[in-house]
Structure formats: C-alpha cells, structure tokens
C-alpha cells in the first residue's frame, strides 16, 4: 500500500485535451500540485499534453509505472486493467462508473475483481475521483479540490461528500495528509485503507464517510484496530430508510441499518458525527488538541450568552464546569475592579472590563493556574478592539493543558487572528457550539483511550 500512495511513477491512461475531460484534469492536478515522480500520459492520438510526451499505449512506456490511473470509459477500462495486469502493474485506479451500481454493469465489475485477483492488482475504485497524498504532493485526482497539508486522512465513500468535508476542514484551517475516494470498493475495501492508515506516519487522525459496506465484520475489526492506534471519527448516512436506495444506485451498496452501524462504531471506539460539518469540527479537535487529564473545564468570557450556550452542550458531553475557588474569585475582582456589578463564577464573565486585553489576559492566566483540565477562552470580535492573540499564544506555550478559543466574528474578518492562533496550535472555532462539540469529542476520545469502564449510575 505504501507504493500505492507514494508511487514514483504514474501512468495516466486516457488523457485528453480539453479542460472538461477527466484525463485532462487528472494530469493537470499532478503537474499543478508539483508531483516529483515521473508522469506518463497515454493516448495514441496525442503527441504531447501540457508539455509532456504522450505514449500510444502502456507497452510503449520506458518503465513499468508504480501506479496506473485509468481514465477511459467503463468498458474499455476493464481491457486496460487487464493490460496493466499483463505488464505487471500492481496498483491501479479506475475512475469510471457504470459497474455494480448500475444494472448493466455487474458482470463488468465481477470481471474487474477477477483480473485483480489473477494479477494481484491493488485497485482503488472504480467509480472514484481518485486519491490525494497531500503531504507528498501526489494528486491522482480528476476533480478540483482544495486542501492544505496536515495530518488528517479522509476516507470517503462519496467523492462529493469527501470534498465537502475537505472544504470544511480547509475553512477550519486544518490540513489533510491523505484524501481517498473509495468508490465501489471492488478490491480495496475500507478495511484495507484503515489498516494502511494505522501505520501511516503522516496521518495522526482519520475521518470516514460511510454509506454502507457488505463486509461489516471486517470493517469493524479494522476500525477497532485503527481506533486503538489513532483517533477515528465517522459520519454515516442513512437515518431515513429511503436513503438506502439512493446509496445503492450511487455506489452499489445498501446503506444498511443505521442503529447497527452506530452500535458497531461505539464498540470499535470510533466517534460518530451527525453531519459532514460536525465531522470536520470533531476531526479538527482530535487532530489539534492533546487529551485532557480530566473533565473539569473553565470558561472565560465577557459576553455571558455564548458561554451559556457552550456550557449547555459541554455538560451534555460529560464536562464539568465546577465553581471557582474563593481565592481565585477574589483575585479576579482585584483585576476587574471590586465594584464591577457581576457575580464572578465559572463560566467567568468579566463583562465590560474584559473587553480590554490588559484585563482579559491576567484573568486568563490566573485561570490556567486553577485546578481545571481545559480552558475555553471566548472572545467576541470588535474591530475597535485588539484580539489578544499574542497573549493567548504565550499562555499556550506555558499551559500544560488544552486551550480552545471561540472567537465570535465573521470568519473573513478574523482570518488573520485565526491563522496566527492555529499556527501556534490553538484551535479556534467561530461558534460556541462548535467549541463545545470539539471538547465533547476530546472527552469521548479520552474515555475510549483509557478504556475506562462506563460508569453506570
């Protein structure tokens, strides 16, 4: 599998001129993203494309490529695959659809399986956009995508949903290590990718989008193993029964009983999110934050409402927001002024005096010395007031516990602050519920890792 995701040469069979063809897009992606290996476009009717010489067929290549990306139609693709096998190409992608998800395509899919078994070919797809090894700039992908390098691997049964989650992560300012559109999973299954990602040093966190799988047991075993090594979160579609049919015509797999999947995820130690957006938030949290020592949390804010929203969710996720020590309260009053008309407790609502970084910072620092396991710092952006970015970063360096920032504002207006904070390893969320969800995921993961018995009360 290492060779599959890090090929030193790639043949693109069926490249064509014209921006709208999949072959063009795949070649463009490889070149544009700076693939360091050797690229061999194959098309008998073309001399060259994007400055690269084209080859009439696979036999004409100067070497046996590590990976062949097959970009021709569904019938022809099977012939090309067989050709690959004969030449000793061991890794392939078929992008075309029209196999088991379509009535007339079942036999062709069986043929693909047979060819791959006969020649020991590892096949991604068919019916896939391809994959991306973001860290190594390898983009055998026929669609436009945007991703920054990072350590989250996404494995998606749908290209479209996989892209959606990738875009959401991009918006959240976190990066990917791998992006894999598994397609019909005729040969390589979810389990194969999960087993590989368990050993992939570039990947710290794994996200899955699942419609359904035929071999639930193998999926379960692989997921359980992967989750024992690194955090794994999933979004599984199929709350409504009607979704089954739509999923079947999509990738030829019944979406399967949602409650059974949910049970299996819990048993495997996989966190389940309820939407692509939630999955992105959960992945960001798991990827950026160290696990907390315990479940005691403090919140600092100067606007009460959002802290109450966060707290409402946090308590449901199992966090405790315990009262402040009397001594800490006394010290906070000293900072914000004894006469400030507010009852200081946890969440600590500084009200007016909190607008000023020179008040906010000492209180925040004080809280980091109090017996809490995690700090949630809430700040409401106001263009007249400086966000205490430097102070927060300084505290992050000193603090031995996870810090999460909720920065209320229009994302494009606070992009720079978010970027700086996140570069320093402080995850920033723009709504209180996202911040709470992130911390909820963290606590869930902690409980899984500790293998703690579920307390029954």
């Amino acid at each position: 599998m290492e060779r599959f995701f890090n090929p030193s040469s790639i043949a693109l069979v069926g490249v064509r001129e014209g921006q709208l063809s999949v072959g063009f897009a795949a070649l463009w992606n490889l070149i544009h993203h700076g693939y360091k290996g050797r690229v061999y476009p194959v098309n008998p009717r073309l001399k060259e494309l994007m400055g690269l010489p084209c080859y009439p067929n696979l036999q004409a290549l100067p070497e046996i490529p590590d990976l062949a990306m097959i970009l021709v139609g569904h019938e022809r693709a099977v012939e090309v695959l067989e050709n690959c096998g004969g030449l000793g190409i061991k890794n392939a992608i078929i992008v075309a659809g029209g196999y088991k998800e379509y009535q007339g395509g079942r036999e062709l899919e069986d043929r693909i399986r047979e060819i791959c078994r006969m020649y020991s070919i590892r096949l991604l797809g068919p019916n896939t956009l391809g994959f991306v090894n973001v860290k190594s700039n390898i983009w055998p992908l026929f669609w436009y995508m945007r991703a920054r390098p990072g350590s989250i691997a996404l494995v998606s049964q749908s290209g479209g949903v996989g892209l959606t989650i990738a875009y959401l992560l991009y918006e959240e300012g976190v990066g990917l290590s791998k992006w894999i559109g598994v397609g019909n999973r005729t040969v390589l299954e979810f389990a194969d990718y999960m087993e590989y990602l368990a050993t992939d040093d570039d990947t710290r966190t794994v996200g899955l989008f699942v419609e359904g799988t035929e071999d639930g047991r193998r999926f379960f075993q692989a997921a359980k193993y992967l989750a024992s090594v690194k955090p794994v979160a999933v979004y599984k579609v199929g709350e409504a029964q009607e979704v089954n049919k739509a999923a079947f015509t999509h990738t030829g797999t019944l979406a399967g009983s949602k409650p059974v999947y949910s049970g299996a995820f819990k048993q495997a130690g996989v966190l389940e999110a309820s939407s692509p957006r939630e999955l992105a938030i959960v992945l960001k949290a798991l990827d950026m934050l160290p696990l907390p020592q315990g479940n005691r949390l403090c919140i600092l804010t100067f606007t009460a409402g959002p802290s109450i929203v966060a707290m409402d969710k946090l308590l449901q996720y199992g966090w405790e927001v315990p009262p402040l020590r009397e001594e800490a309260r006394r010290q906070i009053y000293q900072i914000i002024g004894e006469k400030t008309p507010v009852d200081i407790d946890n969440p600590v609502d500084m009200t007016g005096p909190g607008f000023l970084p020179e008040n906010y910072y000492p209180v925040a620092r004080l809280l980091l010395r109090e017996p809490f396991d995690v700090a949630l710092f809430l700040w409401g952006y106001n263009r007249a007031i400086r966000v205490p970015v430097e102070e927060l970063i300084m505290m992050k360096r000193e603090a031995k516990r996870p810090i999460v920032v909720v920065l209320l504002g229009v994302r494009s207006e606070i992009a720079e602050e978010i970027e700086m904070l996140q570069s320093a390893g402080i995850p920033v969320f723009v709504t209180p519920e996202d911040g709470a969800l992130a911390l909820g995921a963290l606590l869930q993961r902690k409980r899984l890792v500790e293998g703690r018995d579920v307390s029954i009360g």
Binding site: G216, G263, V454, I456
Partner: protein, 214 residues
C-alpha cells in the same frame, strides 16, 4: 434451521443458565387448573402454536389470572379466539411476574452478522424504538454502554413502586445472552419481556431461530 416456540426456547435458555419463568404446556382446562394450583396464582395463560407468532395480537395472552374461576373463563375465551386460526393450538401456563419490562434480542445483520439488541419493553420498544445494538460477542463494557444509552434509562432507576434495576446484574445478563447466541449459533431471538426486579431478571417470553447442527 429450527424455530423454537416459547416453551422450547425457555427450556433451551434455562439449560444455558439463563433465568426463565418456568412455563408449562397444558392441553386441557383440567391440566391448566392443576398446574396453576401447583404454581400458585396469579398466573399467565398463553396460546402455544406455531401458527401464532404474535400471541398478544391474536388474543392469545391473558395475564394476572388470580384464581381458578378466572382461569376457567380465560381458557374457554382464548380457545374460542385461537381455534379458528389453529384448531390444534395448545396453551401454556406460567407464574405472573411483575417488574420493569425489558427487551433483549438477537438478529443476523446481512453485513455485520450476529447483533444483540437491548431496550425497554412495552411502548419503549414498540412505539419509540428506543433500542441499542452491538455486534455479538459483547464485552462487559459494551453491555454497560448499552444500558446507559437507551433513552428510557431513567426508568431503570425504579418506577411505579418497582425497585431500581441492578445494572451490574443486567450487564452480566446481556453478556450471557450474547455468549449463548454466539456459541449456540442463534440466528434470531426475542426475549420480550424480560422482567427486572432489583437484582433479579427473568425471561417471561422467548422465541428463537437456530442454525441446525449444534
């Protein structure tokens, strides 16, 4: 494949060390009265027929029968209701239990294979579908999670004068059901209701489908 009705299924489960409500097949009213005298009232009378899977809906379950006269009436009325469906229908008699109603099931998922389900009985399962699943076999930790997961969990803390369900005992029970299903290749099983009374759990109704040959 073999289908086991209530009496056989309970015998099978008792043999595996699971707590069942002793249940006797009776063919005549005389036999019913005799068994009831021996078990002590109140009792439950049920129809026992391969043709009637949903006994309650066919009018084949009468609970809380408090004396011989009531049993006589229940028996003749039930016979009238079920004989048109199955002229050879038999009947069964068991002690009437009280407690918090639970439901435990085994099914075979096309993708995941053997699966165990847990939920609260009655409307909780029928209407609200408040159930949770795990893949068989489960560990103690999974069983505990299942118990905490159902929305009706609060009811386990005691309702309507029933004592709180002992969750440790319930977790052990779930693991045992899962182990039996696993080792004895049970394809489908319905334990509904299972009555919980503090530490005690008793299977009051059961049916199952097993793979032959073990």
């Amino acid at each position: 494949m073999s289908q086991l009705g209530e009496v056989e299924a309970k015998a099978f489960l008792a043999n595996e060390g699971l707590p069942v409500n002793p249940t006797y097949e009776v063919e005549s009213l005389g036999e019913a009265l005799e068994k009831a005298g021996f078990l002590g009232y109140p009792v439950v009378l049920k129809v026992s027929s391969e043709k009637i899977i949903h006994k309650s809906e066919a009018g084949g379950v009468v609970t809380g029968i408090s004396g011989p006269q009531e049993l006589e009436r229940a028996f003749s009325e039930m016979a009238e209701r079920v004989r048109p469906i199955d002229p050879n229908a038999a009947f069964s008699l068991q002690p009437h239990l009280r407690g918090i109603e639970l439901a435990v099931g085994i099914s075979t998922d096309p993708s995941f294979g053997q699966v165990i389900m847990f939920g609260l009985g009655g409307i909780w399962i029928e209407v609200l579908k408040d159930v949770t699943f795990r893949l068989v076999p489960i560990e103690d930790r999974d069983a505990r999670q299942m118990i905490e997961e159902v929305k009706g969990e609060k009811l386990l803390r005691g309702i309507r004068g029933y004592p709180a369900v002992n969750k440790e005992a319930l977790a052990k029970f779930l693991v045992r059901v899962s182990d039996v299903a696993h080792s004895r290749r049970i394809q489908e099983m319905d334990l509904n209701p299972v009555f919980a009374m503090g530490e005690r759990l008793v299977i009051a109704d059961a049916r199952m489908v097993r793979v032959e040959g073990r």
